[in-house]
């Protein structure tokens, strides 16, 4: 009987947390079921200039030479291989060195930011920084280096 009461108490606490958590964040839950937050956890209302793109869209932009590809991985990872023509902005290193403030990019151009793939966070963080800098068209290629290389698309292995 005591065990039953104890389990009921645990269930009550979990249920209360569930109801309050989902209730207060109901607008976020709605957005989730409308397709938001499937790749990264940024509100696309708040970061209106940021868009997540697929491998096909990234390839199209690459072939049209219509966008600047930015690799947000570390210098070492970039040197081991990157998308052909991409420039390296190693987010974590620049963040530590406070060098992100020194980067200037024209607001009108399209940039495609990528990192290691869906397990990487630096592309999203760098996109947020660019949004704050006023860039108008920021695309995050969430499949990243892993997906690009896996498809055998053009890469550079120059050190």
């Amino acid at each position: 009987m005591a065990l039953k009461n104890f389990l009921l108490q645990i269930a009550f606490i979990l249920f209360l947390g569930l109801i309050i958590g989902l209730g207060i964040n109901f607008s976020l839950v709605q957005k989730y079921f409308l397709g938001d937050f499937r790749f990264g956890f940024i509100s696309l209302d708040e970061y209106s200039s940021i868009m997540f793109i697929t491998l096909g869209e990234a390839e199209e932009l690459f072939l049209e030479r219509d966008a600047l590809f930015i690799d947000s991985r570390s210098k070492e990872a970039f040197q081991e291989g990157h998308i052909l023509g991409a420039v390296n902005i190693p987010f974590e290193e620049y963040k530590k060195e406070k060098a992100l403030d020194l980067i200037f990019l024209p607001p009108e151009g399209t940039v495609v930011i990528y990192c290691d793939g869906s397990e990487c966070n630096s592309s999203v963080e760098l996109a947020k920084v660019f949004h704050k800098k006023g860039l108008l068209d920021i695309r995050i290629f969430f499949g990243g280096w892993i997906e690009w290389k896996g498809e055998g698309l053009p890469v550079s292995l120059e050190k």
Partner: protein, 154 residues
């Protein structure tokens, strides 16, 4: 038998009710603070969970919406003395999971923020293991204080 043995081990340390009250205040206070700091920005917390590279995005998202509220509820209950043993057991479970995640993250060599206190989070490191272990010790003490009273009265 195992429970009884465990409760005896903890029982030696937790009979003093003032120490137990102090434990409840510390653990409850830390979890209220931790919960509130994550409730402020659930998306940041969701990203912090995703950074551990263990859970898929959907699970990270829903855990980030619900977990901080459970932490706050348990913290408040612990301080007020409502369902204190259930709260202590739940928080002990959370702390045990956090410890496993932190240890695995260090072993895998992933350099991330722990996400424990929202934007005030520190990096995942050995200091964090120590802090969580101390909190786990406190919360298990609170939980086993209940058991030891029962065993003693038998």
């Amino acid at each position: 038998m195992e429970r009884r043995r465990a409760s005896c081990i903890f029982g030696k340390m937790i009979r003093n009710k003032y120490i137990l009250i102090a434990f409840r205040l510390v653990v409850g206070g830390v979890f209220i603070w931790a919960g509130v700091s994550k409730i402020i920005d659930p998306l940041e917390f969701a990203q912090n969970i995703a950074n551990y590279r263990v859970f898929p995005a959907g699970i990270s998202f829903f855990v980030a919406l619900v977990l901080p509220w459970i932490e706050v509820i348990c913290g408040v209950f612990l301080i007020l003395g409502i369902f204190r043993y259930a709260s202590a057991l739940l928080l002990s479970g959370f702390l045990a999971v956090f410890l496993v995640l932190i240890t695995a993250t260090i072993i895998r060599g992933i350099d991330i923020d722990c996400g424990c206190f929202g934007s005030l989070s520190t990096k995942v490191d050995y200091k964090l293991i120590l802090e969580d272990s101390i909190l786990l010790f406190f919360s298990l003490n609170i939980y086993f204080s209940h058991k030891s009273v029962r065993v003693k009265s038998k």
